[in-house]
Amino acid sequence: MLSRLLASAALTAALTSPALAHDGTVDVIAPFEIKGTDPATSGNVFIKMDLAETLVNADAQGRLVPGLATEWSPSEDGLEWRFLLREGVKFHDGTPLDAEAAAKALTIASGKPGLLETAPITEIAADGERTLVVRLSEPFAPLPAFLSEYRSLILAPAAYDAAGKVTALIGTGAYRLTKLAAPLRLDAVAFADYWGGTPAIEKASYQAVGRAETRALMAESGDADYVFNLDPASLARLKGVDSLDVLSVPTPRALLIKVNAGHPALKEPEARRALSMAIDREGLAHAILRYPAGADQMLPPSLAEWHSKTVAPLIHDPEGARKILADLGWTPGTDGVLTRDGNRFSLTLLTYPDRPELPLSAAVLQQMFAEIGVEVTIDSTNSSEVPVRHADGSLDIALFARNFALVPDPIGTFLTDYAPVGDWGAMNWDNPEFSGIIRDLAHGKGGQAERDRAIGIIQTELPVIPVAWYQQTAAISKHITGAVLDPYERSIGLKDMRWAE
């Protein structure tokens, strides 16, 4: 009788406790695949897993804080930046971090596609043991922010072969790589010689899981401790699971419609404003994205310096949009589609399915535009078609997600996208005042008033039409404490995590 009772108690316990006790390893699950050891392709994973570090770090508010460099300053003329390296830092192969090693890593990184490549760098060199010097062809204020990007991770000299190819991941991070099974998995252990003290949790693993449903099931079953990027449906379900904390933060990533301002139907700013007024951003955000609100300007409040408090918010007013288009000479044809001088207001909307919400949002936008008499055909294809059709001029409009915080200062993205044109930003749109402000800001001139003015110009001219701001989400096991959800997607707090008591 007693044994039967015990057995049934054990069965009940097994049935009611979904999460198993922790197994000594923090298991991190995210959708990002590991393409190899090169920070240019997979640095986002290495930085999150604390395997390698950058000279400059950024906190959750986007403020630059010391990383492998403890201080930095530009020369009087702004053409030379000096970074003082932290003392006592060792690479995972036991060699010390010195200015020579950092110069080598950054020189190689700046030769690969990425933001650093776009900075006006002429030379990166060592000046003694601990001082790294970056020389520029023109002043460039956001340089420290650029050096905080994951593609600027500092690896040991032994990590590169003679041709500069990364052959091993040898960083300075709190965790040391023990196994890399690209593209889906890596294992790491705490690095005993870490300059910041050995982390409390001994082992960590990272696994790329492409399907959002599977990631959610892994969180729910208790065999993952930190699950990144949840789909809207799973998010609602996981909020009810006792063993998990579900976090969500607004990120500086925006859902935008890129507009070819040279297109005959889109060349007047009023026409672009009419398209913007056709969009019910709140409805789309709630129903499709399950976000709390849509975007009423380009960047979210979390990017405090670039979220303007002075611009008039973008509004939903289909009636007003129809009136603007009527004033521009567009009249409804027999099928309801607007025509002018024999031309239909007909556009192809390019998008891509890498982010599952994009084709869905495109279909909703198609309906919204149809209500004001604009005919839209959706072309859901590879993301690379956006820059391709920008280059050959065949793009009408495109729906895409753009990250403004690859580095904490979005000035880098503005420089490449809008001053004056760029693959993911303005197309056939050139506003000399805007470009001037952006270039001045990049040179370290100007402040809040100039940033507000720049956002105001975008808001009026609409070379891109903001639709929504992204939310980043994660499900975190209550087995661990100290995990963070960083809006800049640099850290998950791994080195500060502990097992919960």
């Binding site: 596609p113 690209a182 399907r211 690379s384 820059p387 693959d423």
Partner: protein, 311 residues
């Protein structure tokens, strides 16, 4: 038998040439700019721009004529060099070894599991054709066959991982990660192999030579050992060859659901990223794998039942 094997070697050569040429032509025919697509897969779509695409174009000599690229691939292949992946820069053979290895491990364990479940049940059902076990098995195996594999995978995850907390829901790296995906595949396979075994066994028990065996006084276990197993063996082995091909298809779906690194995953990603050497290498090895499998099935069938070749 030697003749049959010689035929398979010739088939392998033809497969290599045709698969290589077809995959190359198909990749060439895909729309879109190759350099941009490769850059998007290498550096992520936040970083793909005209400059990155140009860097890729000059690094990989994408401007040279397609025929030269194909010729280069084929000459390298003759030296058993599959080239390097244009996305990761790693040798194709290394990438395939890891990913095909993971798929084969999963497929192998699934096949073994299915053999432990399906044929023994089929055997018992066939020995008493029309009995309660036979009728019950028909219902269960029909139900298992009709459930799509992705649904079966999700049912098992929800039941075994979420409600019971016994096994990891998904993932790769530990022995326990094998069980659920292998079981998902095995249940479908076992349902089919149980039916095949049952039909073969029922046919044998109804045959005149089996009746003669009984008449001369052999016991049921003796009958099964001497006259039964060998007969159903040929049917089962031939069917297993076919099942393995079905397994490879199933593995692609299962890999996606269970976050498993496999050849299906590798092939799909290589196609999206325009990783031509990787697509060619993967398709080639899969093609050759099927030829080798057919050769093995021929050999096994010949070993179990050598009568045909003596005739």
């Amino acid at each position: 038998m030697t003749k049959a094997l010689g035929y398979r070697v010739l088939q392998a050569l033809m497969v290599a040439l045709i698969v290589g040429l077809l995959t190359f032509l198909m990749m060439e025919a895909l729309p879109g700019d190759m350099a941009f697509r490769i850059a998007a897969h290498r550096y992520g779509y936040d970083a793909v721009n005209a400059a990155a695409a140009e860097a890729v174009r000059s690094e990989l000599n994408l401007d040279r004529p397609a025929i030269a690229a194909f010729g280069r691939w084929f000459v390298d292949l003759l030296r058993l060099d599959f080239g390097t992946s244009v996305i990761s820069g790693a040798p194709v053979i290394e990438e395939i070894r890891h990913q095909l290895g993971a798929s084969l491990q999963l497929a192998g364990i699934a096949l073994m599991l299915s053999l432990l479940i399906g044929p023994p049940l089929g055997l018992l059902a066939g020995l008493r054709a029309g009995g309660w076990l036979d009728r019950g098995l028909l219902i269960v195996s029909t139900a298992l066959r009709s459930v799509p594999q992705f649904l079966m995978g999700l049912i098992l995850i929800v039941l075994v991982s979420i409600h019971l907390g016994w096994l990891p829901a998904a993932g790769y790296g530990k022995a326990s990660h094998f069980i659920l995906p292998a079981l998902t595949l095995a249940l479908g396979l076992a349902a089919a192999s149980a039916r095949i075994t049952r039909d073969a066994m029922a046919g044998v028990t109804a045959s005149p030579f089996y009746a003669f065996g009984r008449w001369k006084g052999l016991s049921e276990p003796q009958m099964l050992r001497r006259h039964g197993l060998r007969h159903i063996g040929v049917a089962l082995v031939t069917f297993l060859g076919l099942q393995f091909a079905m397994l490879v298809e199933g593995v692609v779906v299962i890999e996606a659901i269970f976050g498993w690194p496999g050849i299906g995953h590798a092939l799909v990603h290589a196609i999206f990223g325009r990783d031509v050497p990787m697509v060619q290498g993967t398709a080639l090895l899969l093609g050759l794998g099927f030829v080798a499998l057919n050769a093995l099935v021929d050999l096994a069938a010949h070993w179990i039942d050598p009568r045909e070749s003596r005739a």
